[in-house]
Symmetry: C2
Subunit: 315 residues, 2 copies
């Protein structure tokens, strides 16, 4: 099986490592950054580099568009122009509505692996980057779209088609098998639903992380100016702060693209969040201990529901 | 050395385990919950249980008030009434202004170890709970208050006093030595500065975590209602969501106390955070990509500064 990578950064490189070592794929890569290609070969993320997009796609069974979100639609379009009839072209972008609207080709299936947003570059690529991670797929045709549950290539019964006339469903099945081979859990979802969910469980947490570090910096400055210690004197915060701010200020180019590509739904999520924060603020202002306790209990119950749905952690 | 614990929950129990195993202290515990005392003996967190507060404090070199914040002032007062002249009484409450205002006794030094807020009970106590954690101390007398840097018992030169007339500084030194023996990093800070800092690096992150799970639940419900899958169908979120919501809905009794005890400063922090979120919302609404990129860069720089100050993680 031949896998083509358009873009060999953190995600492309990790797909390459896992595809070569776990499913014995022949992996060919292309990247506008020649240094990244050299590094990808050194690290074993690709078998060979191709001189251009057409060459890397030629004869590929799978093409992964692993560029930043801003370039993915144009790259996917070029890839489909060069790809064969039986090829499956997918992408790894963090938002899925725009590409679903712009690309209507039965060979294209949008994708989004939930992994690795806080580092970048093929130097950070890992064979196990996707282990246990959900990998969303947003197939175009509602008819072949399984429910928002795990889809097993062998058990789904989705789009089974006669040989030599591969349907979108059969292409999806092949892609699902490959992604499982990479260690991830493929999960089909509508592009709209995906972007709405990501606004709340990915983009909003990143905004909150940025706001938290700004707020903490202001507080630390106030402490430093009150204390004898100079600026940057050591202070301490608990693990909740470290965890909540791990992704603060993550790769600006990538995240500006993500925020921009989902700005309507992220704005909605922010409006609701600001409203809830205002309500908490009022409870604090009037010393409504019962209201705060009830609100915290709701959060406990919500977290438990999210844990059962695989969204929150188990502890 | 005799260590008395008033309250043998997660924090008291962990102090007991570390004190017994690491500094060979004789540890005596008292708790209104007799089952917790039995369990603490079984787990090796205390050498013996005392029948009442006066008995446990009698002859102790150190007393730790490890009750919930709501009970700590009254308990500390009772402890000081029963404690000897050379005894150091401390507490472990998450806010420090109130107890600093209410207790003016040279034997009292407020404390706050940054550890373990998301579990509770002596059953979760661990000898290594404080390893590498900052343990804030809020000594009452400004004259003996070191800068907001690590204070080493042997190197600080703080409050050196003649024998047989122990000063507050000498008491602080003894407490610092003990806390270092437990594995933590003692850090002296003013009570006001402490509470202002915690509003931003602990209480606000907890509020954000609660808001995030509420928001994610709403988004998940919308997805479930659009998809074929029923309520609670599996979905996926990335590690940033799991990390940011690990403390959502944490122990309601404890956290209602904490929010209430710091409500003025937490309200201030919320006001600033809401203002910043509103500004991000406006940038999204008008598609200000440059503004979003500049804001994200500021967060990156802020996180780097916090990392150097020991507040954010290194990765």
């Amino acid at each position: 099986v031949k896998v083509a990578l358009l873009g060999v950064g953190l995600i492309g490189g990790s797909i390459g490592l896992a595809a070569r070592r776990r499913v014995e794929a022949h992996v060919v890569g292309y990247d506008r950054d020649a240094n990244a290609l050299v590094r990808a070969i050194e690290l074993g993320a690709i078998d060979e580099a191709a001189p251009g997009l057409a060459e890397v796609v030629d004869g590929a069974d799978f093409v992964f568009v692993a560029t930043p979100v801003g370039a993915s639609i144009e790259t996917a379009r070029l890839a489909l122009g060069a790809a064969g009839e039986e090829c499956v072209v997918s992408d790894v972008g963090s938002t899925k509505r725009q590409i679903a609207e712009d690309i209507s080709d039965p060979r294209f299936v949008g994708g989004h692996p939930l992994a690795g947003a806080e580092t970048a570059g093929v130097g950070n690529a890992r064979e196990d980057l996707f282990d246990g991670a959900v990998w969303y797929l947003t197939p175009a045709e509602p008819g072949v779209e399984p429910a928002a549950r795990g889809i097993e290539a062998s058990e789904s019964g989705v789009g089974v088609s006669p040989p030599n006339a591969e349907s979108s469903g059969a292409r999806l099945e092949r892609l699902v098998s490959l992604i499982e081979g990479l260690g991830a859990h493929p999960l089909a979802i509508g592009a709209d639903a995906h972007d709405r969910l990501m606004a709340s469980v990915s983009h909003l947490p990143h905004v909150f992380a940025n706001v938290l570090v700004a707020q903490a910096t202001r507080a630390a400055r106030a402490v430093w100016s009150e204390q004898v210690a100079g600026e940057d004197g050591a202070l301490g915060a608990g693990p909740s702060f470290r965890d909540a701010t791990r992704v603060a200020g993550a790769n600006t180019a990538i995240w500006t693209d993500i925020y921009m590509s989902n700005r309507d739904l992220l704005t909605d999520a922010l409006d609701t969040a600001i409203e809830e924060l205002g309500s908490v603020r009022e409870k604090l202002a009037v010393a409504d201990a019962e209201g705060l306790a009830a609100w915290n209990e709701q959060a406990r119950i919500a977290r438990e529901q999210l844990r059962r749905a695989g969204l929150a952690s188990g502890s």
